[in-house]
Symmetry: C2
DNA sequence: AAGAAATGTTTACAGCCGTAATCGTCACGT
DNA sequence: ACGTGACGATTACGGCTGTAAACATTTCTT
């Protein structure tokens, strides 16, 4: 699902900042939302004004990360890039930068720093088992 | 090892940028280096001039991430923060931001995106086994 | 001794980021 | 019909980043 028709005009996807990412999460969750909706979801927690949300939304539009379509007097915004793509790219960069591109090193670090709960360990074990099937 | 005497003056450690991080990696590797040394290690690959390295070094000094001590006519720079601390903090932030703080989710993603080589899998398995002993 | 080379320090400057305020417009209530 | 409010668009502005150039000083070289 969700291939064809996407990605015309493809300028290399510009980087999404931290604050912008918070907005993206809301859009990914709701699939489509107005500025006010996004503000409802974030303004309290991040201590933002509606104006800030609007700025971030327009920047995301310029960056071609979301689309805006008119709905009556306001606009509805929806993601143009899939969350899994975004997360994948970021993970890639992250592992690249800090662990020489070796996921195992990341794992080693987490283990050593005791950031893995027994639940995490169990879950990862399960994933590994599944991978080998 | 390496407690006491460190961390006087503790202003909350300012954030290190991407370019600065590259410099840190060199210092972590060499433990102590001059601007020219750092440039030797990076300027070609990143297409930087020596001036750029100097700027980054002074910013790192200001940020209290490295110390500079005179050595004849030049200065030698050395890390004030441990790589493992840095990596730990960054990992924390990253997993927090993109995976709701659940490392297992990160693995799930890497696995699903087929970013885990068989070697990675083997290595992680070995680490897991060790963890459980 | 004088010019060249090496070094740290200061200044620069455009672009991105966080965080808005202001402006122009259009719909809605009264 | 008019004021009020909701909305998007435009403008703002200081801080951080990437990427240096210019400057001052000291030391080698010839």
């Amino acid at each position: 699902m969700s291939e064809a028709l996407a990605n015309t005009d493809r300028t290399p996807p510009e980087r999404i900042s931290e604050a912008e990412h918070a907005v993206m999460e809301v859009l990914w969750a709701k699939n489509s939302a107005s500025a006010a909706d996004v503000c409802d979801a974030l303004c309290e927690a991040r201590d933002w004004g509606l104006a800030t949300v609007k700025t971030l939304l327009s920047r995301l539009v310029v960056k071609n990360a979301i689309a805006s379509r008119p709905d009556g007097r306001r606009f509805l915004y929806s993601p143009l890039i899939a969350r899994s793509d975004y997360v994948g790219d970021e993970s890639q960069r992250f592992v690249e930068r800090l662990f020489g591109g070796r996921p195992a090193s990341l794992f080693a670090h987490l283990a050593e720093a005791e950031r893995l709960t027994p639940d995490d360990v169990a879950e990862i074990e399960a994933l590994l088992k599944e991978l080998k099937s």
